[in-house]
């Protein structure tokens, strides 16, 4: 039987995982354009690699995290330079983005930024359907600790949401 070419494997993986990765990144960043760019760039880098990594899904999440971090640094540097950043950093989505989101979504984004970045990533990866093994590889934590970390992240999220919803009542 003839083995599938790298391009075939890549296409199959793209069709299966692009939407999942985009969804995850969109929830993580609150920025549809950034999520689209990063998801595509991640797949470009995977193709450029020329061979599949051991755990492609986890590998792509790691690469995407690095791209998002680099983009945030770049944007922050630019903002500092242009002196637009006049108030203490608020990591909420852009004003324009906020207008496009529902009130609930804005609240949820606020809550995601009240807990640690790692906790947000844990919850969003699980929500996107990543396995505990993939989460462990992507976030470089021990596989056996994922459940415990998720419990803490869940509690932190619920507590933070209680504060946000209480404040908006």
């Amino acid at each position: 039987m003839e083995s599938a070419s790298f391009d075939d494997v890549f296409r199959s993986l793209f069709n299966e995982r692009f939407g999942i990765l985009y969804d995850y990144l969109h929830r993580l960043t609150g920025d549809a354009e950034l999520a689209d760019d990063v998801a595509q760039e991640t797949f470009v880098r995977l193709y450029d690699r020329g061979a599949m990594p051991d755990a492609p899904s986890a590998w792509m999440v790691s690469v995407a995290h690095n791209l998002v971090r680099d983009e945030h640094r770049r944007v922050e540097r630019r903002r500092r330079l242009l002196a637009i950043w006049q108030s203490p950093r608020s990591a909420e989505p852009e004003a324009e983005g906020r207008l496009l989101m529902g009130e609930r979504a804005v609240e949820v984004h606020r809550v995601l930024r009240m807990i640690t970045r790692r906790q947000s990533q844990l919850l969003l990866l699980r929500h996107a359907g990543y396995s505990y093994g993939e989460i462990a590889r992507a976030l470089r934590v021990a596989p056996g600790s994922v459940g415990t970390l998720l419990v803490r992240a869940t509690k932190a999220f619920v507590t933070a949401y209680g504060k946000v919803s209480h404040a908006s009542d």
Binding site: D7, F10, R11, F14, N15, F18, G19, Y22, D23, H26, R27, G30, A32, D36, A39, Q40, F43, V44, Y47, D48, R77, R80, L81, L82, A83, G102, R104, A105, E107, V108, H109, V111, L123, L124, R126, H127, S131, Y132, G133, S145, V146, G147, T148, L149, L150, V151, T154, K155, F157, V158, Y161
Partner: protein, 244 residues
């Protein structure tokens, strides 16, 4: 022995291994406490799931072939850039071996820019040369000037002037490296002040201190937090990152 919260959650998430799951199920049959704990975890888990569901959005339509096309285009471009860099290297090496070539002309300008402090001219191609004065170059489109560190005292005075030449001079010796479009000053521990003259017509000028962008010129647009006085900008070196 009671399972941990993490183990209980792994069962709810259906990521526990089968043996572990069977053991936990047997334990739960006889443990009210763990059933309560798991019920609470389940409630929190559902709350999180419902709230994160508020962030659902349509996925843009993208194709694998488009991504493959982009990757291939970038790969070809990299090859072209490598070839161009190799050609440039050969040309530069050839110029450096000829009297009056491009590199020698740069050295002549370096010498010319050293006044008023007299010292032997530094060799532009040698790294981290110790120069008591400064450096001059004539970039055609852009220049980046980089100071490796902030200082306990000192300032940078940036002056826009007519003419093609960029000059960087220091009030005391500071090691530096210079390339055709870049000057880097290794100023760790120095207390020198600097004067940088940039051509008014040079399209792009970038000044970094300790990795922080403190001055940027793009065509006639200048972005900086430096104090401005006409064509002169004053950047304190003591806290370059906090400029407005």
């Amino acid at each position: 022995m009671h399972p941990t919260d993490g183990e209980l959650l792994a069962v709810l998430d259906e990521w526990a291994d089968l043996d572990g799951q069977h053991q936990l199920e047997r334990h739960m049959m006889s443990c009210d406490l763990c059933r309560e704990r798991q019920a609470e975890l389940q409630r929190d888990r559902e709350t999180v799931s419902v709230l994160l569901g508020a962030l659902d959005s349509p996925v843009p339509v993208r194709t694998a072939d488009a991504v493959i096309g982009r990757a291939r285009w970038r790969r070809n471009r990299r090859k072209q850039l490598v070839a161009a860099a190799a050609a440039l290297f050969v040309a530069t090496a050839a110029a450096a071996t000829m009297s009056g070539g491009g590199v020698h002309q740069v050295l002549a300008r370096l010498t010319a820019s050293r006044a008023p402090i007299a010292a032997p001219a530094p060799a532009a191609a040698e790294p981290a040369d110790e120069s008591p004065t400064g450096v001059a170059l004539e970039p055609t489109d852009e220049v980046m000037i980089e100071l490796a560190a902030a200082q306990s005292e000192g300032e940078i005075r940036i002056v826009q002037a007519e003419g093609p030449r960029v000059t960087v001079t220091a009030s005391e010796p500071v090691p530096y490296t210079v390339q055709s479009k870049k000057v880097r000053l290794e100023n760790e521990g120095s207390r020198a002040s600097y004067r940088i003259v940039i051509p008014r017509d040079l399209p792009r000028v970038t000044l970094l201190v300790a990795g922080e962008l403190v001055f940027s010129k793009r065509a006639s647009a200048i972005v900086t937090a430096a104090h401005r006085d006409g064509d002169t900008f004053l950047v304190p070196l003591t806290r370059p990152g906090r400029t407005r």
